[in-house]
Symmetry: C2
Subunit: 277 residues, 2 copies
Amino acid sequence: MVAKQEIKFFIISDSVGETALNIAKAALAQFTDVSPVYFRFPFTKTEERLDVVLKQAREKQPIIIHTLVTAGLSHKINQFAKENKLVCYDLLNPIMSEIVKRSGEQPRGEAGAIHRLNDRYFDRISAMEFAVMYDDGKDPQGFLEADIVLLGVSRTSKTPLSLFLANRNLKVANLPLVPSAHIPGQLWKVDPKKIIGLTTDIAVLNNFRRERMIAYGLNPNTAYSDTKQITEELNYASQLYQKIGCYVVNTAHRSIEETATLILEHLDLDNYGSPKP
Amino acid sequence: MVAKQEIKFFIISDSVGETALNIAKAALAQFTDVSPVYFRFPFTKTEERLDVVLKQAREKQPIIIHTLVTAGLSHKINQFAKENKLVCYDLLNPIMSEIVKRSGEQPRGEAGAIHRLNDRYFDRISAMEFAVMYDDGKDPQGFLEADIVLLGVSRTSKTPLSLFLANRNLKVANLPLVPSAHIPGQLWKVDPKKIIGLTTDIAVLNNFRRERMIAYGLNPNTAYSDTKQITEELNYASQLYQKIGCYVVNTAHRSIEETATLILEHLDLDNYGSPKP
């Protein structure tokens, strides 16, 4: 086997550096034989701290990706990279310049502004607490307060999807579907538009459930992973979805992000859980 | 009041478009008087779909931010923007070109590669389920399996922080601290390095709790929001943290992202919850 090509990345931010790292990861995902080494420098808010980083950059010759907005620092790093022939991507300042051009407003040059603790931020925290409180059908009362109610048989990603949507400020409750179990009466009082039915493929579900049994140290060949039972469960769910008249998403080959985006698109909501323009 | 300057953004991706949107939001956070209107075009994977978007772009003259990686599409949009003098930021291809230069490998040109369902992805889902299962001290058995145990009095962001760290593949359990309540014996069996004590400022906590009471339709002036009681609770927590010898973070003026980054830095973990290079 040929060794993977190692490429060093410097992820520099005056805030947490999440955005820059995600950009690096998205670019990297296009390569199979490259092994990235990430050096993260969050909270780089002073010239002194930046100087230390730049010195290391000159030694290691990494690909630099930064989201510095602190006045002076972004200019400094870009200038340093130019003089020292370092590869450096400035993700925010070109876009900020265009915004200045269009609005006439000068940027505040304040690190971490995106994380400032505003109302939207506190709504998001409430939404996350809501998702935890009303996960797994714990309290059907939640259906009536929820923005979205997710239905699905076991292992159709209800919990992570609820949390992901909570991160978009949406109050999400979910209910696991089991053919023999009672459907709480509250569900029928919910606007069907708010209900999303999750489904998946038999083979995928079978595989998931076998793995879960193995993870629990149990025999993978139980009724839980039995193809016949899975088929019955999925049919039961499908009939219920038809009766409700709700939107159905197959999560079989989709990531949480992809499923969540489909749901937001379906509800005509933007990324903050607000109606689209 | 002067009306805010409206600026249109086209967020175009052949995957979900999360990364491009975050870049736009981070740039926007630097401006107070600009009102962004986001038009999102996720899953733009075909020339036909892109043509529709480009036609709209010519009309609306937005700031275009894209993360297209599908072979052909990124070239097409960049070319179109040039010919029609549209403002267009290509976030990934310049970085991908540099990776090609360093590795000699050609990109796969496959949309959504970052969301492919690998082991790491399933670990993340397990971590999220773990966080929900062991939230709020529900089952102290979780402390023994957790990568991180968060302690804190009510309203110190334990739940959202647990979920955020779960997104980094870390198994997190949390325990609310109440002076009169019993501390589960399992806590003393946990490596103190894995324990994080959350604290906050009296005024911030008082404010939070009053708001919570108001949200519940209750009188905000209860013992729960009483400054004297809050001081006692925080002192109790502080003494416990000293006894355990754990790392302490004040969450008073920090966002979840910032607190989480401090914790990851303290534990010398990278963004995947793995040891740093």
